[in-house]
């Protein structure tokens, strides 16, 4: 086949055009595919963010509910009783004897002072503020102090390593995990000893919560209540890892490792 010079030029222009069009199409296809992938990636990121926000919100609501529950119990069982006693003492003041009168007034003052202190303690332990303002260590200390006041448990709290302040949201979720673990011990374990160890490493922190309670069979999935499921969910959210070791009648230990970032 032989082409004339003009045919050769036309053929050349057509071939070049096809080649360049193919090239442009290939580049456009790459950009289009990448853009599609990127949109899916950002959508996924947004979903994770919303999920994270939801869990955080849920943690805050749960903490508030627990706080209200504690306040209600405290007012009903403790403060109410003490104020009733103070009222009784003031109602029955022996005006005939100045010495007895001053003793009874002093007793009433002591009771009211105790109530004021307890209300102050309650205020400090309320809401998320303790975590937001004082960090995870002080918040855990305050939580353990409340448990210690019941005189039912011997508490052992240890902190090791150089303290690192995590992002506030992460600390709040971690504190909720600690609260959930302690709540489980109080509710189910029938323990007398509670140990909490917080160890700060170079890039992560490890948390160990143990008790000497009745334990449970970890192989039986029915033993994993909502509390444990919530703990697992929150640890996953913090990109952490956990192990639960429990022996029937020999206590439970939960080990958690959370990266700082």
């Amino acid at each position: 086949m032989h082409f004339t010079p003009s045919e050769t030029i036309v053929l050349f222009i057509v071939l070049c055009s096809v080649l360049i069009l193919l090239l442009v199409f290939f580049i456009a296809l790459i950009i289009y595919r990448y853009q599609q992938k990127q949109n899916a990636y950002f959508k996924n990121l947004e979903e994770i963010k919303i999920d994270h926000e939801n869990i955080l919100l849920q943690s805050q609501v749960e903490m508030q509910e627990k706080t209200f529950q504690n306040i209600s119990i405290e007012i009903h069982d403790n403060i109410g009783q003490k104020l009733a006693l103070a009222k009784l003492l003031l109602n029955t003041l022996p005006y005939e004897s100045v010495e007895k009168l001053s003793l009874q007034v002093q007793s009433s003052i002591d009771i009211v002072s105790q109530v004021v202190n307890e209300l102050s303690d309650m205020g400090r332990g309320m809401s998320n503020e303790i975590v937001l303002q004082n960090g995870i260590i002080k918040a855990t200390e305050a939580e353990l102090l409340q448990i210690k006041k019941t005189s039912l448990y011997h508490i052992n709290f240890e902190v090791g390593g150089d303290t690192v302040f995590l992002d506030v949201k992460r600390e709040l979720i971690l504190f909720r995990v600690i609260q959930e673990c302690l709540h489980n011990i109080i509710k189910h374990a029938r323990a007398t000893l509670i140990g909490v160890q917080l160890q700060f490493h170079k890039d992560w922190l490890s948390l160990e919560i143990s008790d000497n309670g009745k334990g449970f069979d970890t192989a039986n999935a029915n033993n994993m209540g909502t509390g444990i499921k919530n703990i697992k969910k929150r640890i996953r959210l913090l990109n952490g890892m956990y192990t639960i070791k429990s022996v029937v009648d020999n206590g439970t230990t939960i080990k958690i490792e959370i990266p700082f970032i």
Binding site: F12, L23, R33, Y34, Q38
Partner: protein, 206 residues
């Protein structure tokens, strides 16, 4: 255009946060500037013979290819498979270039072969781009524009360099027009390089 490409790349040489292969990118337009000067000296004022000019061009073709080997090797530093790919392709192309250098028609064949290697590197980059986490926004990504420019240039010039000798003999009437396409491809390539360098020089709000 080449001088502008060199100037923008040179302006980015001290940007601390940019990777080394971008900071040292000005070497490439500089090599092209030297090659262009070499061509001008021979065609316009005949300062030395075409044989010497062609020899200089061959050495620079090899140096140009080595530049791109280092560029892509640095670019793929986190991917062992792609680094191995670059190594293997480089080895084959360098061996071929060495053998072809002694061929009488070596200049354009050398360019064609080294462009095949560069084109394969670009395809590897696009493959990596489509298979990695799509974090970067392409229009602000300097490397993307640079590789796009190189890919366009190599894809257009490979068939021209490899067939130019045949065209000179059989279709001499259009061989010059066809060859002028390489100049257009080079201009587009440098335009895209400038766009890439401007992404770093004038960072925009993302």
């Amino acid at each position: 255009m080449i001088f502008l490409s060199f100037a923008t790349a040179f302006a980015n040489r001290k940007k601390n946060l940019t990777p080394k292969y971008i900071r040292l990118f000005y070497i490439y337009p500089l090599m092209i500037l030297i090659l262009s000067t070499n061509a001008l000296l021979v065609t316009l004022i005949q300062l030395y013979s075409i044989k010497i000019a062609s020899l200089i061009e061959q050495y620079f073709t090899t140096a140009d290819f080595i530049f791109w080997i280092v560029f892509f090797y640095q670019l793929f530093k986190d991917s062992t498979i792609l680094k191995k790919f670059v190594f293997l392709v480089s080895l084959v192309i360098l061996v071929l270039i060495t053998f072809v250098t002694y061929h009488p028609l070596s200049t354009y064949i050398n360019l064609g072969i080294s462009n095949i290697g560069k084109c394969l590197f670009c395809l590897a980059y696009f493959y990596d781009l489509l298979h990695s986490v799509p974090k970067v926004i392409l229009r602000f990504e300097a490397v993307f524009w640079i590789v796009l420019g190189l890919f366009f240039n190599t894809a257009v010039t490979i068939p021209i360099y490899l067939t130019i000798h045949y065209l000179n003999i059989n279709h001499s009437e259009i061989s010059q027009q066809i060859f002028s396409l390489t100049n257009i491809a080079i201009i587009i390539m440098h335009l895209l390089f400038i766009k890439g360098q401007l992404c770093i020089l004038l960072p925009q709000k993302r």
